[in-house]
Structure formats: C-alpha cells, structure tokens
Amino acid sequence: MSVTDKKISRFLSTSWMTSEHPLPWLLPASALMIVFGIYPLLYAIWLSLHRVPAGRRQMVFDPLFNWTKIFVDPNMIAALVNTFVYTFVALTLQMILGLSIALLLDTDRRGYSILRAIMTLPLVMPPAVTAMIFLLMLNGSFGVLAHGLFALGVLDPAQPPILANGSAPFSLTLLGETVKILPLAMMGVILADVWQWTPFMVLIMLAGLRSLPKEPFEAAAIDGANSWQMFVRLTLPMMSKVIAIALLIRGIDIFRMVDYIHVMTARGPGTATLTLPTYATQEAFTKGVFNYSSTIALVTLILIILTSTLFMKIFRVRL
C-alpha cells in the first residue's frame, strides 16, 4: 500500500462524517456565512479597487482611485464628523436615561413588572415606523411635538421645521471644511433613536442591577452612607462591565444605522445629517456609483472594528 493510499483510507475511515466530528454540524452555518458574508465582503473590496470610466460600462482596475478620493472628498469629512457626533450623543443620552429609568423601576413592588414590560415595547418596532412617528410629530405645521416646542418657546414657528433646519449650536473647521456640529435636524433624528433604544439600556441595566449582591449595600447602610454615595461607590463600579457591554452593542448599532436618517431627513438639509452608512447608501442607490459606495462602506466597517476593538481593550469586555 502506498503512502497516498494510506492517507486516503485514513481520510475515509476517520470520523469526519459522523456526528462526533464538528464538521457536519458546522457545515450549513458556514456555507451561509461564506456565500452571504465572506463572498460579498470580498466583492466589496474588489469593487473598491475598480472604477467605471466616464461613458463606459466596463469596470477597470484602478486601486488608488476610490481610496484617494475618500481623503479629498469634502462630504466625507461631514459624514465622518456627523457619524461620531450622532453615535456619541445618542449613546450618552440613552445611557443616562436608561440607567436613571432602570433605577426608578428596580423594585419588587406590585405593578412595576407591568411598567417594565411596557418599557420594552419600542424595541420591537421597525425603526422605519419609529422614524415615521417622529416625522409626523415634528412636522412644522401639524406636529404635536413641534407645537409643544413652539409653546415652550424652544422653537420659533417662523424658522424652518426641525428636520429641515441645518442651523447648529457649534461648528468646527477641519481641513478647510466647516462642519456644523449637531444641527437641529440631527437632534430630531437623535430624538427618534433615543426614544426607541433607551428601553434597551433600561432592560440591560435592570438585569445588571438585579444581579448585584445585597451585602455591600447593607454594610454601607449600617456605616451611614447615603444613597448617592452608595450609587457612586458601589452601584457604578459593580455595574461597569454591564454598562460597557451595553455601550458596545448599542454603539455599533448606532454607528451603522441608516433607517432614521433615510426616512426622516434623507441626509439633509445639505449634509447636516449625512453619516457614513447613509452616504454609502446614497452613492449606490441614488447615484449608482457602486465602487465608491463600497469604499465608503468598507471605511465604515474599518472604523467600527477599530473603535470597538479599542473600546474592548480599554474596558476589558468582549462582545
């Protein structure tokens, strides 16, 4: 028997076709992840290295074209700033609100379980529907929220409606481009995001609070600590891992979110609500520039990976 024959017979007789071997178990899932995950990702990389010359239909290999365009595209700066501002502001608000509401609802008294269940409802709504709800409520002529803000004097009815209003409290000049930080339209979008996803934070924080041991709090109470001291010295440190995981999961989701901006402001006015994923969407489906769109999408992916890896290293959590 030759060496090859031995190898073949060993291959056939080993247990990879039996249920004791992991391969048959993993095969269907792996196939799905390769065909619909890896292959499109490689295709996206291939697209980013090609371009369609003017007046032609065939793509030509030009690896630097899109990757240099990224660095000189003024929209990219706006999109980059907007994406980070959107993620940071929405995440911070959701965290603060979520933790506060969780503390409020964290009790075993009767009726509170109903309140907690009601709080989870927004989580299962299509974000496109949430976007529509806020589009209606922020409408300048008959929106209930807009009218409320007029009555409070926060907004001026003579100004353009919130979602079409690009005026901003701050601005920043980057590489010769002036970028508005947090325009009104962006605040409207963030409002919808915060409304829908604060319940996520409430839910996770409640789970965290429930898992805390009772003894340290009893000891602190005997030592005469007030509730604020207990919150800062005991609750927060013991909850840090839970908080970090919640921030990570939500952060990634907000960073790549398209639905609210697409429905509520269509990335406008101007570039006021243009973010990286919405920019990629726009390039592909309103302009048909698939190559550049893929490049932007890949930049988004790289930034998500870099930011979350850094976050995971600093806070020592895993996704």
Binding site: E20, P22, L26, P28, A29, L32, M33, F36, G37, Y39, P40, L41, Y43, A44, L47, L105, R109, M119, T120, L121, L123, V124, M125, P126, P127, A128, V129, M132, I133, F134, L135, L136, M137, S141, F142, V144, H147, T198, P199, L203, L206, A207, G208, V242, I245, F255, R256, V258, H262, V263, P277, A280, T281, A284, F285, F290, S293, S294, I304, L319
Partner: protein, 301 residues
C-alpha cells in the same frame, strides 16, 4: 425605612415617566383612527375633536379601494398620490419572509451552536470570533455587492416571487445567524455535559444525544431565538429597500406613502400599527429571555 409619601412620589414618578415614554405610540394609534381633517388640522393640535374612523385600516390592511369609499360616502379618504395603498400583499410578503428567515437561521444555527458548545476542536475560538465578526458588518457593505451578485445570477427583479422571497430570506437568515448561534450556545452551555455523556455511555451517538435529549431541554431557548429572528426580519428596512423593487416588506411599503404631494399620515399610521402589533405580542411572550437575547447571550437575567 422608606416613608409612605416617598413611595407614593416614586410610584407617581415611575408611572409618569413610562406614560411619557409611551406618548409617541399613543399619538400614533390616535392618528390611525383620525379622519384626515383631524390629522391636518390647521387650527392647532386636534386631540379629541373628531369622529373616530377605521377607514385608514380598511384601505391599507383590508384592501378596500378608495374609489368604493368615494362612492359610498361621497368623499375620498386620503388626498394624495395615485399609488396603491392596499398593503395586504406587503403584509403577506413580510410574514413569508420573516417566517422563512426564522426557519433557516434557527435551523442552521441550532446544529452549529450545539457543536460549538459540546465538541472540542481546534479553531473553536476562531470560529466563534468569525461569527461575532458579522456583528461589525454595516448592512450597506454587503447589500451593494449582493445587488450586483443577484443581478449577475438573475435573481434580482425577475418577476419570480419565489426567487425574490428566497433572496431576502437567505440574507436575513445570515444577518440573524450570529444572534441565534451565540444565544443558542449560551442555552446549550447551561445544560451540564453529563447529560450527553450519560446518554452516550448508554450507547447513543452524539446526534441521538442531541436530537432526543438535549434539544428538547432547550425548547424555550429555541422559541426565544425564533422570536428575535422574526422581529429582526420583520423590522428590517435597508436591505429590502435596496435589494428588490418587486417585493415591498411592510417598513418599505410605509415609506412609499410619503409622496411629493403630501404624506398620507392616516394610511401610514394605520399600516404602522399593523406593523408593530405582531412584535408587541411576541415580545411579551419572551420577556424572560429578552436580556440574554439582546446581548447575544453575554448577560443573563
């Protein structure tokens, strides 16, 4: 230690906060039963000063044509656009696609997660990282190539409803895979390995131990995964918007009611309500596993 008045203040405050949070939903459901004159009230916000009507639901969910509405009442509900507001097809499509995606991702992931939980092999950690890595992927990064891939394979807008369904179902199944896989793994990890080992000492194969003994023990977990999958596929917007124009799932259908001559808020809110009710029912059913599901099994309640 807490006094009666401080308990009262807390209760009131808690109820007020939750009610305030639910206001958008209340307003949305109120809008869905308003006639147009109450929605577009130029005099201010119309809270209760209208005749409640189910016309918006009749047109969007039950497919009554607006023409027959005009003949019956002498006036038209809705004011803009010639597009079709009958959304029965969208509801049907959404249900088929969400069910299909749920079936495939749960069906595929249950096996993989069992192996990842029970069978030690080299590269197990790398495999888990690969699965987790999917979570970083912005949907737009795979949709753009997939549009081209589907076009090349003749799967995009070919007036073949089955191919259209399949195209969306497979992508949703993939997007759901990390959630189901990691969540199922955490449910399998909860069951001691002794259970399988005892079965295998009695002569069962790994497959029999899985199918006959362990899988029935995690029924609740499978149900929770299925619900999360269904909700995800039901609420997804970007992929179905970009990938196909033949099939409009409910979220995409709603966005088509925004017309250049005005938004049909009555119809939008009625279909919107129809689009959120299934999720509400399901989420109440799996409250217990919600935290674990949303954190991919890394936190347990």
């Amino acid at each position: 230690m807490q006094s009666r008045s401080s308990i009262f203040i807390r209760d009131t405050f808690a109820i007020a906060v939750v009610l305030l949070f639910m206001f958008p939903l209340f307003w949305w459901s109120l809008t869905s039963i308003k006639p147009d004159y109450a929605i577009f009230d130029k005099d201010g916000i119309n809270w209760v000063n209208f005749e409640p009507t189910f016309d918006n639901y009749r047109v969007t969910v039950f497919g009554q044509s607006r023409l027959s509405e005009v003949e019956e009442k002498g006036f038209s509900v809705g004011n803009a656009g010639a597009g079709s507001y009958d959304s029965r097809q969208s509801l049907f499509d959404s249900i088929i696609i969400a069910l299909g995606a749920t079936l495939i991702s749960v069906g595929v992931a249950v096996f993989a997660s069992y192996a990842l939980s029970r069978i030690p092999f080299r590269g197990r950690v790398s495999y888990l990282n690969w699965v987790l890595g999917q979570r970083f992927m912005p949907p737009v990064a795979i949709v753009v190539p997939l549009v081209l891939i589907y076009r090349d394979f003749g799967m995009r807008d070919v007036n073949n409803i089955f191919l259209g369904y399949l195209g969306l179902i497979l992508i949703y199944a993939l997007m759901n895979l990390p959630i189901v896989l990691l969540l199922m793994k955490s449910f399998f990890d909860d069951i001691p390995k002794d259970v399988d080992e005892a079965a295998m000492i009695d002569g069962a194969t790994q497959w029999q131990a899985f199918w006959r003994i362990v899988l029935p023990m995690v029924k609740g977990g499978v149900a929770a995964c299925a619900v999360l999958c269904f909700v995800f596929a039901w609420t997804e917007f970007l992929i179905s918007l970009m990938l196909t124009t033949d099939i409009r799932t409910v979220p995409v259908k709603i966005s088509t009611f925004v017309t250049s001559t005005g938004n049909e808020w009555g119809f939008i809110s009625a279909l919107g309500m129809a689009g959120v009710i299934p999720g509400f029912i399901f989420i109440i059913l799996v409250q217990r596993h919600l935290v674990r599901g949303l954190t991919l099994g890394s936190l347990k309640e």
